[in-house]
Subunit: 653 residues, 2 copies
């Protein structure tokens, strides 16, 4: 069994066209794991404070994890990171599919891209080398079209394409990046960064085999997981994430009409079962995975009000809720059409849905008029208006241009009465999980490295009964969903640390690898004699690097706050009237900070925590002011110097 | 495979004679693991602040761990805990042997004893029941004699006896407890507590089989370890811990002449090889263990200057150094005789040796005269005087009565010039590891829950090259022995957390179970789906409970300090002149505090850390003053109340 992990990292400067390769050592990979861990490391080290996320000084990082491409279910994932044009802070997003494994087969663990090309380009990475190619002919074209053009041009249908789409070209702040046109690095506006660099796509192809340290053990685990999937995962294969519509609606936590309500009278028309029984034409999957949780939907030309192109797959739960219930829309065809458009333009469906719902409520309240909407009757429930708004946002047309800035900036524009309608944390739109139902997750939104995010957050529901799975984290007790006491916060901390880990490894949370199997996988893949302790520390390390990045960019604890709406009673449904207690949310946030080794008040990581995690170098990136104000372990300033300055300027990109 | 661990805990009140049984649930065992974890929990919950360690209100706790008695090498260990009469703070000690497994076979995971018997008694625990029996006839008799008397009286040679010995009867503050008369719960004066309760011995016997959740897996692991021991552990079987005399002397860190020197000219006369080639007559072992690291030495009556009784086994490294080099004694027979006497009277050889070395240096400096020593020429190197002093200490005769109080109290008595000669941290004598060689371990002495202790401390030497073993702890780098930078402190923290774990599990550090195998053992033994993360948290939990206990008893950060001697140049040998830098030691201590989630200045655990570990209840035991002064996460006191009082009285037992 070989020991260690050595990979290559491709560095591209699009301004100069310079291409180089770095080969970090095994210890680097072991501390970072890849994905989020790698991205946080590079962004903090490489970026100057206060840079424009949409300028050439930002980095656009594609990163696999040490498990990406391993021949086991769930290993298809990879990450993209950059300073987020949405939040102005640390940004990253993950996707499944085949691109990550292919990038590795092409010889690279990560691609770190900075600068800006003079004209549209795409990057062609293959068999250990890279080439910057002209993309002028691809500009403005939809995702599937571009993918097929690149495959044809390079003469290889096996090429995998990651791309930003027309929305990224237009720097829609929540433009995302897709691969295989159906897998989305969704949050944080990674597509806008890509577009700002005139980088339309990254195409990858390679023949390097994934070489695990212990191939036999991996094969054995893969076989066992295949059996487990065949036996237990039928439900998830059947409905995928779309099954959640019905369960959350039943619990009263299905985000409806811009989070005013938790129960949607039209839920049954857009839920997973209905989707399966009507528009579903196939189930797709990711690299090496038998779960097949991805939907494929189709409405043939002329068969419905909308034709829906199956090339773009089908909606996940988040999409059904964001473009459906959140907009009060119960027209499944319209939701699927809007999903197709988001995929074609490469827009994050969550932020898109939240932006449209925001506009709908603003319209209802008279903050937007028909003049603003160019005649569109933008009321909740108007399916056609919803679909039209997707087009307008993607193309920055009319009101769409305002909404393309995200709800936080749009509300600033519309004035004080609009602000309470903007559902975001740190300017990233809230995903489709209701904090008045899942209260720990609400605190998780506020303390996330990326702004409101469900991809590294606690599942409150899991802790009500099914605690066996989390016992290896030392969480031995059950707790209700509406709990915000320290036991919930420690569950949030532990669980989230490991979510950072899995997002660094390149492993899918939807495949049933338990924590100890995850350790086994890493061991078999890398030869490291590792442990859940070490992997958890890696997750915590990534979270701390991202936090230091955010503090450096001017993040203040005051920014880590839920929208006011969640402190008001939920409008309808089984838990109508339920509020998040603002004092408890604030205390929970402080408790999370403190449990993370951050200052309870300011949220600034302590030097000791950074040193404990082996990243003492990161302390030098903390602004002096924050260091002086916030450290629990600060020392008195040298005499005669005292307190001065205000640290780095608050980032307002 | 069954799931979970359920045991019984025996409660004895010696004052009333009341006997009861508690049956904590699986979650209790999973959080505590047993041993140190269990002891820290009970002592903090049960004891009132400020009680006299030698009074009836103290508890004397015998505790096994969840692995004690498992049919695998290294599982013979158990712990004893109490408020220490030496340090006045948290006290515990571990031993191997057969007593722990037998206590479990007798039906109990732990025995918690409080009160004080009116006359000498012993406790007879067998087959799920317990009986308090008269021990008047055993009082004053040596250990082996008492053990055999109990076995004869109860008519069973298979009975295992833990006992305090005559030294414990006389409340020598560093009297220890032995089992099988050759295995020692050495540190912290546990024997004095036992003696103070008029409890001469605890005898155990039972027939309950150890029932692991996965017996097949345990058997498999036991077989693999047997092979590993047969192949790799010859050196350790050959010399046991006594091999360390030569290696530390070569490195210049063999404590010599009361820590003045680091190199002993007579080392070769008392080292492991010489012992093996002269007095060694056998090698013994512990329950289920093939390592056989225990020595048996004998000098037959009339064959040397001293007859040495093989019933009492033979010296470990600590003993050879403490009664040998530390006293300047190179007479191996004398050292073995002193070892036998310590075993017969049941004295901790480390504290005994340090006390005698202290007296020798005081004598040399004229702080003690022949009048004080009753004519004994108590110079360094006088082997006979050393042996005689063991007798005097055990019997509290003459100068021995003063030394029986430990060096800290003796130095107080002798005045300011004696204080620098008293080698202790928090009134517990320093073990035989030189902080000027192993600098991380020096910081470890200061922050230990028990005062100076090597049994839950870092091995600096291990981190110079052999880092593979500690990589599962996230320690990926090597570091020199004389390093006190944050990387060393984080290694100290991680390593020590896991030492608390192993001391809670009841597993031996000298058997080569690596960290992941330890997890496997716990899993197979208990059925818990556990991880190194969870086990590490359990160790950290124990350390925090002990720290809260110490803070409640008046411990201040100022007490966490090495003796001044270590800040002065080592007298001789390869690293002559080397000092510990006091500023770096102080900073390292603060860094450890901060990495533990304790206040960097006061060392008081933060509420957040306690809550993170699931022991938020422990915060209520922090004195108000400490809570106000020390918390990194303190909140302002309510208006009009402000700061008041000085918290709990400083414990001066």
């Amino acid at each position: 069994m070989s020991n260690g992990y050595c990979g290559r990292i491709l560095r591209i400067d699009l301004t100069s066209g310079r291409i180089s390769v770095e080969t970090p050592d095994d210890a680097f990979y072991r501390a970072a794991l890849g994905g989020r861990g790698l991205i946080a490391h590079y962004l903090l080290k490489d970026l100057a404070p206060g840079i424009d996320p949409l300028g050439p000084d930002n980095e656009f990082i594609l990163a696999t994890g040490v498990l990406t491409g391993a021949p086991v279910a769930g290993s298809g994932r990879s990450s993209i990171g950059a300073k987020s044009p949405l939040s102005g802070g640390y940004g990253d997003a993950e996707a499944g599919g085949y691109f990550g494994p292919e990038l590795k087969r092409a010889g690279f663990d990560a691609v770190v891209i900075r600068g800006r090309a003079e004209r549209p380009v795409y990057l062609w990475v293959h068999d250990g080398s890279a080439e910057i190619r002209d993309a002028s002919h691809l500009w403005g074209r939809k995702a599937h079209d571009v993918q097929e053009a690149i495959r044809a041009e390079l003469g290889d249908r096996g090429i995998r394409v990651a791309q930003c789409g027309p929305a990224g070209e237009k720097k829609v702040r929540f433009a995302c990046v897709s691969n295989d046109v159906t897998h989305f690095y969704g949050r944080g506006g990674m597509g806008a960064v890509m577009g700002s660099k005139n980088l339309r796509a990254v195409a990858a192809r390679g023949g390097a085999a994934y070489e695990p340290a212990d191939p036999e053990r991996l094969k054995e685990m893969a076989r066992a997981m295949s059996r487990q999937i065949a036996e237990n995962e039928r439900g998830f294969t059947d409905l995928g994430t779309t099954g959640i519509v019905a369960s959350l609606n039943a619990a009263g936590g299905l985000p409806t009409r811009n989070f005013r309500d938790g129960s949607f009278e039209g839920a049954a028309k857009i839920d997973g079962t209905t989707l399966r029984d009507t528009l579903l034409v196939g189930r797709e999957t990711c690299y090496a995975c038998a779960v097949r949780c991805k939907r494929v939907v189709e409405v043939k030309e002329g068969r419905g009000r909308y034709a829906v192109d199956p090339h773009y797959g089908g909606p996940e739960y988040e999409t059904l809720a964001a473009l459906g219930s959140l907009c009060g829309v119960d027209d499944l065809e319209a939701v699927c059409k809007a999903n197709e458009l988001c995929a074609a333009y490469v827009l994050d469906t969550i932020s898109t849905g939240v932006a449209i719902a925001f506009a709908m409520e603003s319209y209802e309240k008279g903050l937007l008029t028909k003049e603003d909407t160019d005649g569109l009757d933008l009321r909740f429930g108007n399916a056609e208006a919803m679909v039209e708004m997707v087009e307008r946002i993607a193309n920055r047309r009319g009101l769409g241009d305002l909404l393309a800035e995200g709800v936080a900036r749009a509300a600033e524009e519309l004035g004080p009465r609009a602000r309470p309608l903007a559902m975001h944390v740190r300017r990233q739109e809230i995903p489709m999980h209701e904090p008045r139902l899942k209260m720990g997750l609400g605190v998780g939104y506020t303390v996330s490295p990326t702004g409101a995010d469900h991809c590294h957050n606690i599942h409150d529901t899991m802790f009500v009964k099914r605690v066996d799975a989390v016992k290896p984290l030392g969480i031995l007790e059950t707790m209700p969903v509406d709990d915000l006491s320290p036991r919930k916060i420690r569950a949030l901390k532990r669980f989230t640390d490991l979510r950072h880990t899995i997002n660094s490894l390149g492993l899918c949370q939807f495949v049933g690898w338990d924590y100890n199997q995850q350790v086994e996988l890493v061991r078999a893949a890398t030869g490291w004699n590792t442990s859940l302790l070490e992997l958890s520390l890696a997750g915590e390390r990534a979270a701390n690097l991202a936090r230091v990045f955010n503090v450096r960019e001017g993040l203040r604890a005051e920014d880590d706050r839920l929208p006011k709406r969640f402190f008001e009673g939920l409008g309808n449904g089984p838990i109508a009237g339920t509020k998040v207690n603002p004092r408890l949310a604030e205390e929970g946030k402080g408790e999370y900070y403190a449990m993370m080794g951050w200052d309870r008040t300011s949220g600034v990581p302590s030097r000791a925590k950074l040193a404990e995690l082996g990243i003492e170098w990161a302390a030098a990136h903390l602004p002096r002011e924050a260091a002086e104000r916030g450290h629990p372990d600060r020392r008195p300033a040298p005499a005669g110097k005292g307190r001065r300055g205000t640290g780095a300027p608050r980032g307002k990109p």
